[in-house]
Symmetry: C2
Subunit: 325 residues, 2 copies
C-alpha cells in the first residue's frame, strides 16, 4: 500500500467506528440530525493524525480508535455551532442543521455531540486517561476562545495579521495539536515525543488554515466544490486580506478597506482583489508561511525512529500542503 | 450549627471556589457574559449534594470541591442554552445572556461552560476518575435528550403524564442523581452506597421538578419572585396540566385543551385553571408524588451509619419538599 491507500484505510477505520458508535434512535429530533451530521463525510484529518501519532511512538492504533472517534465527533460539534453563528446555509454540499431543521435543534445537536465526544474518548483504556481527558478539554476551551475572537473580528475594523494568527492558533491549530498529542499519550510515548508530536500538529494545523484561506482565492472552482472568493464576498478577515491591507497603497488599499467597511466585497470585483493579492505579494507570503510550517512540522519528526507511521506523517504534512480542495 | 447554617456554609464553599475558578479576561465577548452567568446566584443544590454524598460515605468534602464546581458549571451551561431555546427573557431576576448580549454569544458561552465544567471535574484526584468522568458524561447526554423531548412536547398535542415523567427523569432528576453518585465515587464509597446515593438523588431530583410545577400555581407571588401561573400562560405541559387533562370533563376539559391547542392560556383565566386543578385533585396528586419520592429518597439513607452528613441529607430532602420558592 502507498501512503494515499493507507490514509484511505485509516479513514475507513474511523468511519466504520463512527457509524457504529451512535445506536440510539430516540428522541428523534436529536438523533436524526446528529446521524445526518456524522454521515456528512469530511477528510477525517484529526482522527487519522491521532492514530498515526499513536503508532509513531510505538503504540497500537487499535487502542486509539475510540479517542479518534471522539476527536472527530468533537470537530463536528464545532462545525454545527459555528454554522449557526456564521449563518452558513450549506456545508460539504449539504444543508446545515439549523437550516434543514432549526436553530434550537442545531444548538442541542451540538451540545450532544460534545457529550458524545467525551463518551467516545473516555472508552480509551490508558493509564494516562486523566491527562488525555485534560488535554482534550483544554482543546475545547481554546476552540471556544478562538471562535469568540473570530466573532469579535467581524465587527472590529482594526484586526491585525498578528490577531488573526493568534485566533487560528486557537480555533484551528490547537485541536490538530491535541489530536497528535492524545495519540502519543495513548501510545505511551516519552515526554519528548509527546511534545514533538504536539508541535507537529500545531504547525500542520496552522498551515492547514492558511492553505484554506489561500485556496478560497486561487483554487480551481471545479475541484474546490464551491464558488471561489467566498471569503472576500463575506468580508472574512483572512491572512490574505489583512496582510494585503498592510501592503497595498492608493486606490487598491481603498478597495480592500471597502471590503472591511461594508462587511463584504462585490463578487464582480474578485478578479480585481486577486490582482491586488498577486501584486502585493500576499499569495506568495501565504505560500511561504505554509511551506515554513510544513517544514517545521516535518523537522519535529526527526527524533522518531524510521517507521511506517513516521513516513505517513511526512506524507500527511505534504498532502495538506499540496491539496487543491 | 444547625442544618440550615451548614447548608449556607457548604454553599459559600462552592461559591468561593467557583469565583476563583475563572481568572481569564479575554476574549471579553466570552468571559464577561460567562462571569455574569456564574455570579447570578442560584441555590447550588447539586454541588452541595455532591459534597454531602462524599461525606456520607466517609470521604473528605475538601477533595470533592472541584467536582462540585464542575457540576454547578454544567448546570449553568444547561440554563444558558435552555434559555435560548425557550426564548426566556430573564432568569433569577436578571436578563438572560442571549437577551443582554445575543444568541451567538449565548451559544458560545454555553459551550465554554461545558468545557470548563470538565476542566473543574478533571482536577479531582481520585483512583475512580475515569468512572467519575463517565458518569458525568452520561449525565450530560441525558440532559440533552431530556431537553430534546421537552422541545418535542411543545409541538405535540398527545403528550401523556408518562411521557412527561420520562422527560423530567432525564432533564432534571438524572443530573441530581449524578451529583450524588460522583460525590460517593470521590469519597470511595462501596458499590452499594454509591447506588443508594444515586437513587437518593434521583428521587430528590424528580420531587424537585414536580415541586417546581406545583409552586408555579400555588406559590405566594411575593415569596416566589415571579408571576404565578407562568407555566400555563406559556402552555408548558407540566405534570399538573397533563394529569388534569386526563381527569377533567366537560367545559373544564375544553378549557385545558385550549391551553394545549393555543400553545398557552390566558393570564386572566389563571384562577379558573387553579380551580380545575383543585377540583380534579391534581394538586394533591402532585403533593402525594413529591412526598412519596422524598420518603423513598430518605429510605435510601438507612444503610448509612448515623453521621452529620446523613442528617444533612435527610434535612436536604425535607427542605426541598417544604420550599416555597
Amino acid at each position: 500500500m502507498n501512503c494515499q491507500q493507507k490514509y484511505v484505510h485509516y479513514k475507513s477505520l474511523v468511519d466504520h467506528c463512527l457509524e457504529r458508535f451512535i445506536t440510539q434512535q430516540k428522541p428523534r429530533s436529536l438523533y436524526e440530525p446528529l446521524r445526518y451530521v456524522l454521515a456528512g463525510g469530511g477528510k477525517r484529518i484529526r482522527p487519522v493524525l491521532l492514530l498515526l501519532s499513536c503508532e509513531a511512538v510505538g503504540g497500537k492504533a487499535r487502542l486509539a480508535v475510540q479517542a479518534a472517534v471522539g476527536i472527530e465527533i468533537l470537530h463536528n460539534f464545532t462545525l454545527v455551532h459555528d454554522d449557526i453563528m456564521d449563518n452558513a446555509g450549506s456545508r460539504r454540499g449539504k444543508s446545515t442543521v439549523h437550516t434543514k431543521w432549526d436553530t434550537n435543534v442545531a444548538i442541542l445537536v451540538g451540545d450532544e455531540l460534545l457529550a458524545l465526544a467525551y463518551r467516545a474518548l473516555l472508552q480509551t483504556k490508558s493509564p494516562n486517561i486523566q491527562e488525555i481527558a485534560k488535554v482534550f478539554t483544554e482543546g475545547v476551551v481554546e476552540v471556544c476562545e478562538g471562535q469568540a475572537y473570530d466573532n469579535e473580528f467581524e465587527t472590529r475594523t482594526n484586526v491585525t495579521v498578528h490577531d488573526y494568527l493568534c485566533m487560528i492558533e486557537k480555533k484551528t491549530a490547537k485541536m490538530v495539536a491535541v489530536s497528535a498529542e492524545i495519540g502519543a499519550l495513548i501510545g505511551n510515548g516519552t515526554r519528548a515525543s509527546i511534545v514533538a508530536l504536539r508541535r507537529y500538529g500545531q504547525h500542520v494545523g496552522r498551515a492547514f488554515q492558511i492553505q484554506d484561506d489561500l485556496l478560497d482565492i486561487v483554487a480551481e472552482e471545479k475541484e474546490f466544490g464551491k464558488a471561489v472568493g467566498g471569503d472576500l464576498v463575506e468580508g472574512k478577515k483572512t491572512f490574505l486580506l489583512l496582510e494585503a491591507l498592510r501592503r497595498a497603497r492608493g486606490s487598491d488599499r481603498a478597495l480592500l478597506r471597502d471590503v472591511v467597511k461594508n462587511n463584504g466585497g462585490s463578487r464582480r470585483l474578485i478578479p480585481e482583489y486577486r490582482r491586488i493579492y498577486q501584486e502585493t505579494g500576499v499569495l506568495d507570503a501565504a505560500r511561504c508561511r505554509i511551506e515554513q510550517d510544513i517544514a517545521q512540522a516535518k523537522a519535529e519528526l526527526h527524533r522518531f525512529p524510521s517507521s511506517d507511521a513516521r513516513a505517513m506523517l511526512v506524507w500527511f504534512a505534504d498532502m495538506l500542503l499540496n491539496r487543491t480542495y
